[in-house]
């Protein structure tokens, strides 16, 4: 299945990322469960968590009391039965307002729970074969395992808990958590391939695993707790907005509470039910009711992307990111660089060079090494020694070379140009000027040059072709328009890096970078007040992942990387960082848009209620909507107030449509659509409801 990289789509629906979407079976009961939860949230101990809606709930109780006895707080002038009817209608509408707000939150939570159920199905208690210190094997339940225990897992068995492989090589089916059906090779010692997750299945051979997580603290357990919202704490933006809403509510509470004496003074006494209605109409109930649903839905959107965020804070931080640090290989270019050409030097022919390159890559299991073997064999190259008598030399970050030691003490090496130069000189060889020409030629093409030599004899340069992922340039353009800077990190030389950087359209690049450079770049950007996002998978990435404001660890990465990061990508696709930025921005835009809309709504509700209540005080001309009566105006405003919450639930859950615009453009657009729309829409809606209401 092909990924469309040309568009930023925060919630992909028909591609492989959508695999962990909420299961259909779980969604069937979602709304019934949400309705039940909406009533459960009426418990004052839960309701008190949402200040705006708690006030509406208290108001509902007060209007209910005056429905039972309209004269409870003072004798009313109107017919008690009519007053009771009006109070009853207000009570019902206020109650529905609270229920709708609770329902919105419950639906958002329900989606998370469905995802948690899906994850939970991959976690089950299993029998583990624990290796005792004396070498004996004891059969225990997986819940009895503790950090530091060693277990043996054989073919066909589930891995009982998160751990590190210490002995054995085996294929592990991780589809339960990643959805990827191809098994992954796990072996000890290697930084990445030694980490295993509880709930995954060994499909070949057997492994001895050192348990690294206590029961309930494993990767899947933490994921379940997070998507269920068990550990959900408010993000800084949510806290700021909660304070703002509380201040607004406080102001309106004081205004309404002190309105009664003023009303009496102008000979327009108002009932308690009307005061409660006025209060509810003025406080920002729309955003108050949808605020937590927006936050929970943001987490769910990230989870639908097959990314687990450790907190809502991380998702929000994605939206505020100013700088993206991206590795070249696998993120900007396709992971596998392929050998495209042999450029011989020193008077050697292409065939001679191909034979040496083949011999030097015999033991190289990397995709690059295999592609060199393929190209050499295509050119007719053959080895003239027994493979069993030769020894492979593995690549290391220190030597930056790999190769083969032949039986007759001949050393064949291939690797970074500087490293090969040094190796040739150390063996008494010379570097012809043509070698530099070849190296520059490859670099200018954006390829990676690899030098090849046999002892002190330099044979030439292998051109490893790097292919920039399609559509990436457009996405970086979009990010640039949003004010996000992209920095590419690569171990390649400066010329290659600059060519790839130009081709991909990144803003800056760091060539010949080591993993340690990542943390330096992050610190440098952060010192300028910027928020930085990065991806990583190795243990050496862990400090940088912890330092970054948004650190996305690959699921294939080490336990250390996953623990340092605040997000884990189950698909291990580093390109997803760009989508995460889009999701974060969408979350912030949605919250901003609905807050603007909610506050703009107040203007219409104010003009609906105040002029009709105080018409006798000479402000009847402000009744610009020409509403029939105070009773009709109040009911129309409250009905609108209640109905707008469920009407906006889809927008809160799915997010405002994301457009890659600058902050200024977004602000203008928000003010125009949600600000102006928030002023006009309720005028029209309240007038229509007023006309439809069967009261004079």
């Amino acid at each position: 299945m092909k990924i469309n990289l040309s568009n930023i789509k925060p919630v992909p629906r028909n591609n492989r990322y959508a695999r962990r979407d909420t299961p259909t079976a779980a969604l069937e009961g979602l709304y019934q469960r949400a309705i039940r939860d909406a009533f459960r949230k009426l418990d004052p101990r839960i309701a008190v968590g949402n200040p705006v809606m708690f006030l509406v709930w208290v108001g509902t109780i007060v209007t209910f009391l005056v429905t039972l006895d309209p004269n409870l707080f003072g004798t009313v002038q109107a017919d008690p039965n009519q007053q009771r009817l009006l109070n009853g209608a207000i009570t019902i509408i206020l109650f529905l307002t609270v229920i709708f707000a609770n329902f919105a939150e419950a639906v958002a939570e329900g989606r998370g729970k469905a995802q948690a159920d899906s994850l939970r199905s991959s976690r089950s208690d299993t029998i583990a074969y624990k290796l005792l210190p004396d070498g004996a094997i004891s059969q225990v339940n997986s819940t009895e395992l503790r950090k530091g225990d060693r277990v043996i897992v054989k073919i066909g068995e589930l891995i009982p808990a998160d751990g590190e492989v210490v002995i054995g090589v085996a294929s592990v089916d991780e589809s339960a958590i990643t959805g990827e059906s191809a098994p992954v090779l796990k072996q000890p010692g290697t930084d990445i391939a030694s980490s295993v997750t509880g709930g995954t299945k060994v499909v070949s051979d057997e492994l001895t695993i050192l348990i690294t997580a206590d029961p309930g603290q494993g990767f899947i357990d933490r994921m379940i707790a997070l998507v269920e919202g068990a550990k959900r704490s408010k993000t800084p933006n949510e806290i700021a907005l909660t304070v703002f809403l509380a201040v607004l509510t406080q102001v309106f509470l004081i205004v309404v509470a002190t309105l009664s004496p003023l009303a009496n003074y102008v000979n327009t006494p108002v009932t308690i039910a009307i005061l409660v209605s006025l209060l509810v109409a003025l406080i920002p109930t729309t955003i108050g009711g949808l605020l937590s649903a927006i936050g929970i839905a943001g987490m769910n959107r990230v989870a639908q992307f097959n990314v687990i965020a450790t907190s809502g804070r991380a998702v929000e931080a994605c939206g505020d990111v100013n700088t993206l640090i991206l590795d070249k290989t696998g993120t900007i270019t396709l992971g596998n660089r392929l050998a495209d050409e042999f450029i011989p030097v020193n008077g050697h022919s292409v065939e001679e060079m191909a034979a040496v390159a083949l011999a030097g890559s015999l033991f190289d299991e990397t995709p690059e090494g295999k592609s060199i073997v393929q190209l050499a064999e295509k050119l007719g190259a053959k080895i003239d020694f027994s493979r069993t008598q030769a020894t492979g030399v593995e690549f290391s970050a220190r030597t930056r070379m790999s190769g083969t030691d032949l039986p007759n003490s001949i050393e064949i090496r291939k690797g970074a140009i500087d490293a090969i130069r040094g190796f040739v000189r150390s063996r008494g060889g010379t570097i012809p000027s043509k070698f530099d020409d070849a190296y520059e030629q490859v670099s200018k093409l954006g390829g990676t040059p690899l030098g090849v030599c046999k002892d002190g004899d330099l044979y030439g340069v292998i051109y490893l072709k790097d292919i920039v992922k399609p559509g990436l340039k457009e996405r970086f353009d979009q990010l640039r328009r949003m004010g996000v800077k992209t920095i590419m990190l690569t171990g390649d030389n400066r010329i290659t890096a600059s060519v790839i950087a130009q081709e991909a359209g990144v803003d800056d690049f760091i060539a010949e970078a080591t993993p340690e450079d990542k943390i330096d770049v992050i610190k440098r950007e952060q010192s300028q007040g910027k928020l930085v996002a990065m991806t990583g998978d190795g243990t050496n990435d862990a400090p940088a992942l912890a330092q970054a404001n948004v650190g996305v660890a690959m699921n294939s990465g080490t336990q250390a990387a996953k623990e340092a990061a605040n997000m884990v990508d189950l698909d291990s696709d580093p390109t997803k960082l760009i989508d995460l930025v889009a999701i974060g921005k969408q979350l912030l835009i949605t919250r901003g848009a609905l807050t603007t809309f909610s506050i703009a709504n107040d203007i219409a509700k104010y003009f609906a209620i105040i002029p009709t209540i105080f018409a006798a005080a000479g402000i009847g001309t402000l009744n610009v909507m020409g509403l029939k009566s105070p009773q009709s105006a109040i009911l129309a405003a409250l009905i609108y107030n209640a109905l707008i919450i469920p009407a906006l639930i889809p927008l809160a859950l799915n997010g405002v449509k994301f457009r890659p615009l600058t902050a200024d453009q977004l602000l203008q657009r928000n003010i125009l659509i949600y600000g102006l729309g928030g002023v006009i829409a309720p005028f029209i809606a309240i007038k229509i409801i007023d006309v439809l209401l069967p009261i004079a």
């Binding site: 949402n50 707080f73 003072g74 909660t242 509380a246 201040v247 509510t249 509470l253 308690i272």
Partner: protein
């Protein structure tokens, strides 16, 4: 025996804070409602004055609650 009962009542009293708050509010209302009753004369009946007193105290409590939200928002 009596002292044991008193200790038990005191422990329950300390443990269940919401009924305590409610009880204290009603006690406060005794003072509050009487003042309102005295000030308004015949405009309100005794029961209306008590109801208004409870409403007034409730409103003040809501206001205090909103101040708590403003200064300790992470608790909500």
């Amino acid at each position: 025996m009596i002292s044991e009962n008193l200790v038990t009542i005191w422990q329950v009293w300390c443990r269940r804070k919401y009924p305590t708050y409610l009880f204290l509010a009603l006690c406060l209302n005794l003072v509050f409602a009487s003042t309102v009753f005295a000030a308004t004369g015949d405009a309100f009946s005794r029961s209306q004055v008590y109801a208004l007193g409870v409403l007034g105290i409730g409103t003040v409590c809501l206001s205090i609650y909103l101040f708590v939200v403003m200064f300790q928002p992470e608790r909500f």
